[in-house]
Symmetry: C2
Subunit: 591 residues, 2 copies
């Protein structure tokens, strides 16, 4: 931790990096314009004024630092290669000169590969990382169009970001215009990606070498990103309507992609979840990423910025399953883009400060229309609570956008927000589909309470392997409670309980004989060591309520719903009592 | 948020205040020596170099600011009174002069009252806030000794902190020496406080007026503080072995004490939990407090520093029940005190960085023996997990202390750590003490699993009011699961479930007739709407395991224990199987 870091670029990413380095006692020297955002929060050491693309300034930074890193990938990788491989000349205290090699993290090779988007995508394809299909655009674009199909995307290989440098080619007739718009730039073509939604995963790389097996990579949670006007607008943790399995797959793919690159550091991996459920890498940023700002509050002891510092210094701790978990159930990040006037964002700032679980981050930049000048992260005990808290802020941001773009607020609201949902917390299974009618009222109640669930069939006697597989992977699937219904020699709840540490609720289903007593005793009379929480015969409502109580013990939003439910039940009975007292039992019975 | 704050003092508290003000876009001008910790992280504006006790410098700061606040209470309150009541002269751009009154928060009256510890304690007594009994020490100390009893504490009224300025008077014979040691200081006497442990509560005050009913006050959680060598060493959230009720009482008392003071801001309230269970205020700091550092990570969107900013600016959001909850189940803070050499703390720093749920805060101060140069906050999914993570760090700190004080590490370890415990998460109740033998194996299992529980008797039929009171206050008491055992017409589990949203586990107890079937059906056949998780007749082990599974669904440490438990059970049965196969069934049966 005594090595000095030289940082190319002092914008908001550098600023948040310094907010992480200051308390760790890590020295960071910044190369950027005077008073840039990062310099505003780091007066621990003198900085360099100048441009992070100025070769001589980069050499000067290298002289003062032990290790160089970037907050932006559009840097001169040839100077970085020079200081890393040949070194820079430094003058010792006694006046003698020597050459010092300076570590560059991540490697200049990685930066060079990523700068050129065609090279980046070819690299992933060569390394077995699913990505957008891309083609050279030096030849006849009609041939490319025939191969990729229309529409396809014509893109600048370098310096393209936030939608600039892209041209959608809808038909051969567009080719001429596309080439005109993107003239003087080196181009490539991308197959059109029909994605369902966009995900992002921040990945930490702790090894210098590249590998094909994700070696030395650690993933933050997968999040959903919402773009508007080609700029990131919102980030949702957890991603809405994405299964735990898909989230895990996104983390794995992101780790594989980052593992194939050289050097250490933090990477922002953008992915597409395609309509067919397939995951592919869109592109990678070799630095902390807008989609990872939420980690400051959601991982309060291990933000992406702290990870960048520790990984490039080679002192990153290890994590079980190579994943860094979030400490809060939900986090939503909203970017603050400059409005039509310098003060347009003031209202959004004051509203954010009034939300006790929101963190406001202003970058100390002058406001210009559409410029990223800050962000807000709302954390919450549940995704639905988070969404209700962030909603008024999104409305304010939409109004700012409407004003900025000269459209009506209603038009601005039509941006692509999807319906709200989250990964299921309750798994419901039954021995046979004939048990489904019994479970129906319980399922309906979970819908009423807006608690997401997953329902399936696993017979202990007819699909024993499937049942065990289901039970033993339940924790990894993100479930917190299992409800199992069965009748007769009802072994399913107990067998599932034997294969998972989760609480299992058993619903005895009444069969054609014995009035359900066979099912009840098969479920409730478990041996010591393997408990099943048994409810009344056929009473799936109580199973659902018990599952909700279990979740509610640690989720205040769910507990609140249960209190409400009990109040409603009470009122219902009181209403009936009033009616009975009012009209008398005889009339009551004929009603 | 456009008002400029002038801060008297730029130490670590001011530094962490600036770490909170920077992202909020709040301008803070610091008065302190050049390169003081706060200035190192705030280059957004020019600061004032000088002493925060220099009257002219304070006036200069007042000219540049809209509101003054402090990070230390040992300031010149007369200058503060002057700038607040009379104002300072400022020169306008056109050269004209005018007088500007500058808000001081908290009020200079509060600072003046708190500076003088005798005045402070008298103030609390007058306002009905339980505090240490104090007496004037101007007269004959023998009379004071007779009234307060021996030992009593002779204390300097002002500028006493970290144990300096205190003298314990054990008998009348000590009086002469005490007066000699504390000569030239204004003194008072305190009754000896036989406290069980020390608690602290950070309180935010949002109103200017003083009141006797806690008006406009908001409390952070109560924490336990451990002092060593008269300096805060450790802070535990939640406080160990303190009931939820006592924690709430501590918050209420702290709010009442702070409510009696003038002005807005954040206050650190130190309390004693006496041997007899009584809570009294020890003393108050009118600023963020060492005991509240944990809030940076535990309340990542509302640290005590953000609260100080928002409260003095008059834009503090409101909180349900006037309390700010922690977002993590456990946080433990360890101060880093300078060791015998400048580099003694390096090992502690590197170890802290290797703990992924630990946040290291170095203040950028030169290390001197015993000086507070940083702190570490460990957050965890459970108190026991947090304690196991922090233990190696405490050992390193103990070794540093031993080296610093020239004692053996073993001696340093003898500091007053109490046995580890936490508030119980499981409540266990029964209809009659005759059910206790049935519950015994379950209770023993919870002991084995080190899961704290609370056990009591509440009969549905003989103590219906007590039973309802117990059930309806269970959430507020911090319980997450209830186990209820009953026999015969076993109404207890269902009645409890009717009065709480928590999951309730029912244990049917076998009576002298019907083999327990009466109990089982009374418990399991609950009507729709009120579920009871029923386990097998007399099977308290499974009730305990089910409770553990419920807690484990969201507490990885407990889930881990259950996986271990299942593995042990499996191994036990496998061992028996091996033996049976080995020696044959005949020998097995005679063994």
């Amino acid at each position: 931790m005594e090595r000095t870091i030289g940082l190319l670029g002092g914008g908001q990413l550098g600023q948040m990096l310094c907010e992480a380095s200051n308390p760790l006692g890590i020295k960071v020297i910044i190369l950027d314009a005077e008073n840039s955002p990062a310099k505003q929060v780091n007066a621990k050491t003198p900085h360099l004024n100048g441009s992070f693309v100025d070769a001589e300034k980069i050499r000067e930074l290298a002289r003062q630092a032990d290790i160089l890193t970037v907050e932006i990938e559009h840097v001169d990788t040839h100077v970085l290669e020079e200081v890393a491989e040949k070194g820079v000349e430094v003058t010792e205290n006694d006046g003698s000169k020597r050459t010092k090699k300076v570590e560059v993290q991540p490697s200049w090779k990685t930066l060079r590969t990523i700068q050129d988007k065609y090279l980046q995508k070819s690299h992933f394809t060569q390394n077995g990382v699913a990505t957008v299909v891309s083609r050279d655009a030096d030849g006849d674009l009609r041939e490319v169009g025939e191969e990729l199909g229309y529409p396809f995307m014509l893109k600048a290989r370098k310096d393209a970001y936030d939608g600039r440098g892209n041209f959608p080619v809808k038909s051969p007739a567009d080719i001429k215009e596309a080439l005109e718009v993107l003239k003087d730039r080196s181009l490539y073509a991308e197959k059109w990606a029909n994605f369902k939604l966009e995900l992002a995963v921040v990945v930490v790389k702790t090894e210098d070498e590249a590998s094909q097996d994700s070696k030395g990579t650690i993933a933050y949670p997968a999040v959903e990103t919402i773009h508007e006007d080609s700029v990131c607008k919102l980030v949702y943790l957890p991603p809405r309507g994405v299964t735990i399995k898909q989230q895990k797959e996104a983390q794995d793919l992101a780790r594989k992609a980052v593992g194939s690159l050289w050097g250490k550091g933090v990477f922002g991996v953008e992915l597409f979840l395609m309509e067919n459920g397939e995951l592919i890498v869109n592109e990678i940023a070799p630095r902390p990423h807008n989609s990872g700002h939420y980690t400051i509050e959601a991982c309060p002891t291990m933000s992406q910025y702290k990870s960048q510092l520790l990984s490039i210094l080679g002192i990153m701790p290890s994590f079980p399953n190579n994943t860094i978990p979030a400490m809060v159930p939900s986090a939503i990040m909203l970017n603050i883009l400059g409005g039509s006037s310098k003060s347009s964002h003031n209202k959004l700032m004051s509203e954010a400060v009034q939300i006790s679980t929101a963190a406001l981050h202003m970058y100390g930049k002058d406001s210009k229309p559409g410029r990223k000048i800050g962000h807000i992260t709302v954390v919450a005990a549940s995704p639905s609570l988070g969404e209700s808290l962030v909603e008024p802020l999104i409305n304010l941001a939409n109004n700012m956008r409407a004003e900025r773009r000269g459209i009506s607020p209603a038009e601005s609201k039509s941006s692509p927000f999807r319906s709200l949902s989250q990964g299921p917390l309750i798994a419901i299974t039954m021995g046979s589909d004939s048990d489904l009618p019994v479970l129906k009222p319980g399922l309906a109640l979970l819908e009423t309470l807006s608690i997401p669930y997953h329902v399936t069939i696993t017979s202990a006697h007819r699909t024993p392997a499937r049942m065990m597989d289901f039970a033993s992977s339940a924790v990894a699937s993100g479930f917190k409670v299992i409800i199992a219904a069965a009748g007769g020699a009802a072994h399913l709840p107990g067998m599932i309980a034997a294969c998972t540490p989760l609480p299992v609720i058993g619903v005895p289903v009444k069969g054609s004989t014995l009035d359900g007593m066979d099912s009840l005793l098969s479920i409730v009379q478990m041996p010591r060591g393997v408990p099943v929480a048994t409810v009344a015969i056929n009473n799936s409502i109580n199973a659902a309520l018990l599952a909700a109580r279990i979740l509610g013990a640690t989720d205040p939003a769910i507990q609140e719903k249960l209190v409400e439910f009990a109040k409603n039940s009470e009122e219902e009975v009181c209403g009936k009592a009033g009616k009975l007292e009012n009209i008398g039992f005889e009339k009551y019975l004929v009603k």
